[in-house]
């Protein structure tokens, strides 16, 4: 379990170090408080998937892959495809990440990413319908943390969004003609996903009442609070999660302003690296 409250002796020393730097408006890796680490984005890294992306934020590494299956729509949304997001920490990611059923941290992370995608209405799910009320496409976003050096939400969102932007999916009209969905789906003509928005998530850590962008794992442990905010391309807030800690009321609004800026920076970066939108 990824338990940021765990305070071993070495954690405490690290926290002191981190705090000392932050008090001087510096960070241990030389970054400015509002600066992201180097961001690497590679798409199409897994050819077997319909879309995929490899993202590294410094030493944090995430891979996302997109798959499709046919299925029955939910009874309350007969004219919508189904979006499913499942994220796991691979046991390669850290000493704490052991194999087993998903932990509450993994479930929270998956659901935060899912809300970012879903609430921004990034994908037009009505375009995933094969026969209304009977058969639709299920879009699976699977992502994995391969190495954890903090800020998993931003990294996972970047991976999921980049994978989706470069996904080609089975044309539902052609799927309707299949005899054996399961065997033949992968050979159906593929068309680009109907993208309507590009949500971006920025997570802010509060250390010594200063706001830091893209916290590393030691910074997360040192932080008094961690807040993830997702914006649409039109600057609406579409998802928010206080991952940990407590905030003053005014801190919330100060953070929102920082996030709004960084979110634009990040979206431009993705567009330049991935295209789409």
């Amino acid at each position: 379990m990824r338990d940021l409250r765990k305070r071993t002796l070495s954690d405490i020393l690290r926290i002191k170090q981190v705090s000392k730097f932050i008090r001087e408006n510096k960070r241990m890796d030389g970054r400015k408080l509002d600066e992201y680490r180097d961001i690497e984005i590679k798409t199409g890294v897994v050819k077997k998937a319909y879309g995929s992306a490899y993202v590294s934020l410094g030493d944090t590494i995430v891979i996302a892959g997109i798959h499709f299956e046919t299925g029955t729509p939910f009874s309350d949304t007969p004219d919508q495809g189904i979006l499913i997001t499942e994220g796991e920490f691979l046991p390669t990611a850290s000493f704490y990440a052991e194999p087993g059923p998903p932990t509450e941290e993994e479930i929270e992370l998956s659901r935060v990413v899912d809300r970012g995608i879903r609430e921004s209405e990034m994908i037009d799910l009505s375009k995933l319908v094969i026969t209304p009320g009977e058969k639709v496409l299920k879009l699976f976003i699977d992502f994995n943390i391969l190495n954890d050096d903090g800020n998993l939400v931003d990294a996972a969102m970047l991976a999921a969004v980049s994978a989706l932007l470069t996904t080609k999916y089975p044309n539902p009209e052609k799927v309707a003609e299949l005899e054996n969905d399961r065997a033949e789906l992968k050979d159906v003509e593929r068309i680009p996903l109907p993208i309507r928005d590009i949500p971006m998530t920025v997570t802010i850590g509060i250390i010594n009442n200063r706001y830091i962008v893209d916290p590393t794992l030691p910074e997360e442990i040192a932080a008094d609070a961690l807040l993830s905010v997702t914006h649409t391309k039109n600057d609406e807030i579409c998802a928010m999660q206080l991952l940990r800690g407590e905030l003053d009321y005014n801190q919330l609004f100060e953070i929102l302003n920082i996030v709004l800026e960084k979110n634009k920076e990040l979206r431009e970066l993705v567009l330049s690296k991935v295209g789409g939108g």
Binding site: E104, E119, I237, D248, L256
Partner: protein
Amino acid sequence: MSKSKEEYIRRDGRKVDELRPYSIRTGIFKNADGSAEIRLGGNWIVAAVYGPKEHFPKFQISQDEAILNCRYHMAPYSTSERKSPKPSRREIELSKVIKSALEKAVLLEAFPEMSIDVYIEVLQAEGSTRVASITAASVALADAGIPMRDMVVGCSAGKVDGHIILDVGEYEDKEGEADLPIAIMPNLKKIVLLQMDGKLTHSEFREAFELALKGAMQLYEAQVNALVSKVKEMGEIEEAEE
């Protein structure tokens, strides 16, 4: 959206800044160390606290502070379609964020090597259950006599038909444009739970947040009253016994 904020009447007859009818009771379970019940509109939620108590297994204990366990769970009959009794991913996430919020209020450092269990059961769900749950859980903790830095009280705001509204009901949750559940420590003025989904501009968000704060302060009074009436009852019983 043609109607003004003052004129807009919600599907259940409420004004935009009106809470549903609510009540909070404490001491409802005999076995638990503390317990509470909240009714908020059609929501019926109970919470029980066991602890502080010895923690098992030993290798998990914390030398510095108590471990707080928290389960948010919905009864199979609490919703209009039957809910499997097995915890869903949603229930696991909500357990985590509620735990994370309560941890900021409880003086965990007072009970090293112990654990405190908070069990929340939604008996009937009608929108905004997570914030009603945390409100009840906080009262149950106080009822158990567990020392706290402050109460925790939750409330939601949202956006429906273009209006920012207080205390999101079930219909408003499903059909509305945004949902913002928050929980605060009302005296310390700290946010300890904050989630959002839907779409809000920054100015709408501010309006919704301030509305939710207002609702939370109103519910905080009900928390205090519930605890006070219990103390009074106990006093009366003691007097009667004398």
